[in-house]
């Protein structure tokens, strides 16, 4: 079998997950997209392991680890999403904007600067 088939499939799956991460609004859907990306990587690992016939089977062992870590990630991630939902009543990612530059700060901050300069 050509290596190009699994490799290209992995690439396309990865980019699909990428789109999902960037475009989805619900945090749980974002997590699903992350799972897709992880699976694309796993597919690559298995394909290259089979192609290279590694005696240590590093690729497949790593795939197993990745699966375990992904599971842990989904557990923690869901717990965080739950917490956010409980605190805010929503799990929409684009509404969690506490780190944004607020408008009043934008208006208030330069004020002392201009006065200081005018004085100087």
């Amino acid at each position: 079998m050509h290596l190009a088939y699994p490799a290209v499939l992995a690439v396309l799956l990865f980019c699909t997950g990428l789109y999902g991460v960037l475009a989805r609004r619900n945090a749980i859907l974002v997590l699903m997209s992350v799972e897709l990306m992880l699976n694309a990587v796993n597919l690559n690992l298995v394909a290259f392991d089979v192609w290279l016939r590694d005696t240590l089977h590093a690729g497949q062992a790593l795939t197993l680890f990745t699966i375990a870590i992904a599971a842990a990630e989904i557990g923690i991630g869901l717990a965080i999403v739950l917490l956010v939902y409980r605190n805010r009543g929503s799990s929409d990612i684009d509404r969690l904007r506490d780190l944004a530059e607020t408008t009043d700060a934008a208006d208030g901050e330069p004020q002392p600067d201009t006065t200081a300069e005018a004085a100087a």
Binding site: H2, L12, T16, L22, L56, Q60, A68, I69, S91
Partner: protein, 202 residues
């Protein structure tokens, strides 16, 4: 090995290749539906299809153990977890018009550009590479188990510690802190993610 691939062309595919491509198309379609559907629960179900398809691809690549682990953990528990999550956050059943956020077009651009670049690089690099599937089986349970407990014992144990930490973390995060709300409710919420890691251990 690469030299051995010279005899194989893309225009005369083998049976395994045909099966791989067909399953791959199905998987990709399911994945696309997962990230585009407006019904949240459907997204989870399409995810099941996609993950199952990947498990089949593992089988076609002769990695049978990985394939079964994939089915067990992903299809069996992760998706269930996601469904629990959807329900606990009171996700709407049916079509929700605002499933996608405002920067969908930017995301599409980035994703397509990334796909184009990566496909170009991968095809450019591996178009002549051939995987010889007819030799000794690579991913049988015996082979993987031997390798895992012979060479990879230490990372394996470290991973169990990580899972334990994730378990504790999930409980702590999802417990209702402070007020004396019903401990049962806390247990209820905390229990949801908790079984998953334990399940994954084997």
């Amino acid at each position: 090995m690469t030299l051995a691939a010279t005899g194989h062309g893309f225009l005369s595919p083998s049976g395994v290749e045909i099966a791989f491509v067909l399953v791959g198309i199905a998987t990709l379609g399911a994945a696309l539906l997962t990230v585009t559907t407006r019904q949240l629960v459907h997204a989870a179900l399409w995810l099941v299809v996609a993950l199952g398809g990947i498990a089949v691809e593992y089988l076609l690549l002769t990695a049978e153990f990985i394939a079964w682990v994939q089915v067990l953990i992903y299809v069996g528990s992760v998706v269930v977890l996601l469904l629990f999550g959807l329900m606990l956050t009171k996700a709407p059943i049916g079509r929700s018009p605002d499933a996608d956020s405002g920067n969908r077009w930017a995301a599409l651009t980035v994703a397509l550009a990334a796909a184009a670049a990566l496909v170009w690089v991968v095809v450019d690099a591996f178009r002549a590479t051939w995987i010889d599937l007819d030799r000794a089986v690579q991913g049988s349970t015996e082979v993987i188990g031997r390798s895992l407990f012979q060479y990879w014992v230490l990372p394996f144990e470290a991973l169990s510690v990580l899972l334990l930490a994730a378990l504790v973390g999930a409980i702590v995060l999802s417990r209702r802190t402070g007020e004396g709300r019903a401990a049962a409710a806390a247990l209820d919420n905390g229990a949801a993610p908790a079984p998953a890691p334990r399940e994954e251990q084997r």
